[in-house]
């Protein structure tokens, strides 16, 4: 019985943690921060930028895995190869307010641009 309850609690936790959870406090940072690409995550993964102004974002890839080598911004039709251990800057056009996700080819790495 205990095992079953634990399993149900685990399923509930998975659903909440991965699907339902919404960050309450805004952990985003502005675009001047270097985005580190390492160990399966973009750090920071939520980047705040201003609306209607062209911006630049810079990635520093320190992970050799194939997936991390390319970052895609599907909504903006941008894909950029990231050199290893070297900052790579991507110029963004002026964007309307909204959220623009970015990720690697297999979506192992995920992040979002928050345009305000």
């Amino acid at each position: 019985m205990l095992i079953n309850l634990l399993c149900i609690a685990l399923i509930g936790f998975i659903i909440w943690w991965f699907w339902l959870y919404k960050p309450t406090k805004d952990s985003s940072v502005d675009a001047s921060t270097l985005i580190l690409v390492k160990d399966g995550v973009y750090t920071p993964a939520r980047i705040k930028i201003s609306a209607n102004t062209p911006t630049e974002i810079t990635f520093l890839r320190q992970d050799k895995s194939g997936c991390s080598a390319t970052v895609l911004l599907p909504d903006l039709e941008i894909s950029q190869d990231l050199a290893l251990d070297k900052p790579t800057t991507i110029s963004l056009p002026a964007l309307e307010k909204g959220e623009y996700p970015f990720h690697c080819q297999m979506q192992m790495y995920k992040g979002v641009l928050i345009v305000e």
């Binding site: 095992i3 079953n4 993964a45 050799k64 194939g66 039709e77 190869d81 979506q107 192992m108 995920k110």
Partner: protein, 748 residues
């Protein structure tokens, strides 16, 4: 760089704090033997050195003056590519190392379990021995599987889950369960005291192996872009102040005069100002025949100078050259996704947490309803489900094929803008072709002169060139050029008058000169007798006949025709064979249009279409539910190209508006069009195979791992087999995409 020749290099200077340092540094560099001049830019702390001296000597001189210097090397696309290859190679080696370490523990354990002894824990000795094995396995996990666990943990903190999560959970569960058995065997029924350390080690080894092979295979998918990047020459020989200088191409400036000898590559785009040669442009256009270049002709970066020495003026350098733009466009397109990949993306986004839930449910079902030892079955099934599921294969299915397909197309001189264009091109049902410049050469020529009341062709050409030199009609140019080519001087005409839709009239020595179509002759009461039949024969042969009359008498019929490109007929037949309806649009008259259409094997055509109506014709076809491709030269067809589902801009040579179309055909031949469609179809087929494979793998593998076959057949998958299957599923996808590299659009 050739040390015996003068060269230009740029150095970064560190430690130059005041403007007075400039003189000191320049002096130090100038004192080096072989330096012709040194000019320092204080604002950006760089110095430009001209001469034969080596960088090392110059840097030493700067250092001895009390500053530091480093050579600025422009980072070419090739350098970036090489760096990437190096990084990939290192990554491959480290993955192989991880594989060997993990398998060197996993394989002996597995052999022991299968053939030698039981992997169960009952006695204290077994507890100690398996405890030690557990510690060794933990070491393997930390050495060879470290990246999975760190990746999984960091993703978890970000409310994200990926392949790492599944591997970490699967191997982690097996290890923790085994360690619990080792530590507290009495808590478990005797039958359930089985340890799974071999599974953990084997899975880590196999997945590392799969990743290593994937790195190798991925490298091959970018071969096309590597080849394009390799076309770029590293240095250029420019003439400055009357001297030849070998310089890095990054330092070539606009309007520099660049010298290229036979066998050398064209280093930047330009226009020939001296000499003539033939240039092999096949690497960019796919056109096998070398192209003749004389003064005034354009030359393109990366093409190969074959026969003569030329000097050209640089018109586009650096990122603006056609080659650089092609490379960046191909790269962008290679990473864009066609709509077919979107479903896989949506699934991939929810995949991993869903697998975790399935694994938990599977464990619960086994625990509650499974045979004894139910806890073992529960753990094995949960581990196997976690390990066999492969989100990577789903994620890779589309991008890998697009990467190879777009690259393959670029090799045949076909530039595809993005994944969407690639997908739509594969579905085209109707292809609209503009006649002039697409099916035909776009260069009308005089083909026939039928003399009537004269016996002098010279007189006929002199008169017609005289009157047509006032006209702006495209056909007029053909007449004037024909006279020029034969060295015939045009006769002066006066009182020129263009009669819309009919032709032109003028006066020569007080006599009326008429030049135009049948209607003009009828209006002016010129007796043409049975010559109309001759003109009809010309029109039926795709030529445009025009009548020349002087002083009320017919002198000649001149036929002008725009020659059909030699391979248009074959290419159109290829399109039709692939089930595409081919339609021709032209502003020309019906008879000529009909004749051209017949000659090239097109059944449907629209003649006398004004340029602005071309888009309407495309829209009409779309209303009939056709997926319409439109092919034109990209200049006056722009609205139609934009409206079509896929717009193909056909370029002669490389002077094309790359940005204006969904797909750009670098060469003039319509075979490029047929190739583009063949490649897009092959790529889409490849994507579908990959997606099908990835879906089926997961859809079949996951229930199998959960044990659906057990109640009937008593089969439950071993987690090690699941690990091997998972490791090779994404490799299969990448390898299948690589098969596309071997695809050949029909030989021609």
């Amino acid at each position: 760089m050739n040390q015996t020749k003068n060269s230009l290099m740029q150095l970064n200077i560190l430690g130059a704090g005041c403007a007075s340092c400039v003189g000191k540094i320049e002096k130090a560099i100038n004192s080096v033997e072989g330096v012709d001049s040194a000019e320092m830019n204080f604002a950006d702390r760089t110095v430009l050195v001209n001469g034969k001296a080596s960088a090392e000597l110059i840097i030493k001189a700067v250092e001895s003056a009390g500053y530091n210097a480093s050579q600025i090397k422009a980072e070419s696309a090739e350098d970036v590519m090489n760096e990437k290859e190096q990084a990939d190679l290192q990554h491959y080696k480290s993955l192989l190392r991880h594989t060997i370490i993990a398998l060197s523990v996993g394989i002996p354990l597995m052999i022991y379990g299968l053939f030698i002894g039981e992997m169960t824990v009952s006695t204290l000795l077994e507890q100690v021995v398996w405890g030690l094995v557990g510690v060794v396995t933990l070491a393997i996990m930390l050495i060879s599987g470290r990246h999975f666990y760190i990746g999984a943990w960091k993703s978890f903190l970000n409310h994200n889950a990926n392949m790492d999560t599944l591997i970490a959970l699967g191997t982690g569960t097996a290890w923790v369960y085994s360690m619990l058995i080792v530590a507290f065997p009495q808590l478990f029924p005797e039958m359930a005291r089985h340890v799974y350390f071999e599974a953990t080690a084997m899975i880590i080894g196999l997945i590392n192996l799969g990743l290593a092979l994937e790195v190798k295979a991925r490298g091959k998918t970018s071969e096309a872009i590597k080849r394009l990047i390799g076309l770029q020459a590293k240095t250029a020989r420019v003439i400055r102040d009357g001297k030849d200088l070998d310089i890095d191409i990054a330092h070539v400036l606009l309007n520099d005069h660049v010298k290229v000898r036979p066998g050398e590559k064209i280093p930047v785009d330009g226009v020939v100002i001296e000499g003539n040669s033939t240039i092999d442009e096949s690497m960019l256009t796919g056109e096998p025949m070398p192209v003749e270049k004389v003064i005034g002709d354009d030359v393109v970066t990366g093409t190969l100078n074959k026969s003569g020495s030329i000097i050209f003026k640089a018109t586009r350098v650096g990122k603006d050259t056609a080659l650089a733009r092609i490379i960046s466009m191909v790269k962008r397109a290679q990473n864009s996704k066609p709509p077919i990949g979107r479903l896989a993306d949506v699934i991939a986004a929810y995949f991993v947490p869903a697998i975790m839930i399935i694994a938990t449910v599977s464990a619960m079902v086994w625990f509650n309803f499974g045979p004894e030892p139910s806890s073992v079955f529960a753990i094995v099934s949960a581990t196997t489900v976690l390990i066999i599921a492969c989100p990577c294969a789903l994620g890779l299915a589309t991008p890998m094929s697009v990467m190879v397909g777009v690259g393959k197309a670029a090799e045949s001189g076909v530039l595809i803008r993005n994944g969407e264009a690639l997908q739509t091109a594969s579905k085209i049902t109707a292809m609209v072709l503009d006649k002039t410049g697409t099916i035909t050469e776009g260069k009308p020529q005089v083909t026939d002169i039928i003399l009537v009341n004269t016996d002098s062709e010279e007189q006929v050409l002199a008169l017609s060139a005289g009157i047509e030199s006032h006209s702006e009609h495209p056909l007029a140019q053909a007449i004037v050029e024909s006279a020029n080519d034969r060295g015939i001087e045009a006769i002066n005409t006066e009182h020129f008058n263009a009669i819309s839709g009919k032709g032109v009239e003028a006066e020569v020595d007080g006599q009326i000169l008429l030049f135009g179509n049948l209607k003009l002759m009828q209006d002016k009461n010129i007796d043409i007798g049975f010559n109309e039949a001759k003109a009809q024969v010309l029109a039926e042969n795709a030529k445009t006949p025009m009548y020349l009359a002087l002083a009320g008498q017919l002198l000649a019929i001149i036929a002008v025709s725009d020659p059909i490109k030699p391979d248009s007929i074959e290419a159109i037949a290829r399109l039709k064979r692939s089930g595409i309806k081919v339609i021709m649009l032209t502003g020309d008259n019906k008879a000529t249009a009909a004749a051209v259409a017949k000659k090239v094997g097109i059944d449907d055509f629209f003649a006398e279409v004004m340029p602005e109506d071309k888009a309407n014709k495309v829209a009409e076809l779309q209303q009939q539910n056709e997926v319409v491709g439109m092919t034109g030269d990209g200049i006056n067809d722009a609205p139609a190209l934009a409206l079509a589902d896929v717009g193909f801009a056909i370029g002669t040579g490389t002077d094309v508006a790359i940005e204006s179309a969904d797909i750009t055909l670098m060469r003039g031949s319509l075979h490029g069009l047929a190739d583009a469609i063949a490649i897009s179809k092959a790529t889409l087929r490849n994507i579908k195979q990959n997606l099908f494979g990835a879906f089926i793998y997961n859809v079949a593998g996951i229930p199998l791992a959960a044990g659906v076959l057990f109640p009937v057949f008593g089969i439950l998958l071993n987690p090690v087999i699941a690990g091997a299957a998972m490791a090779f599923s994404s490799l299969t996808v990448v390898s299948n995409a690589n098969r596309l590299r071997l695809f050949k659009a029909k030989e021609h």
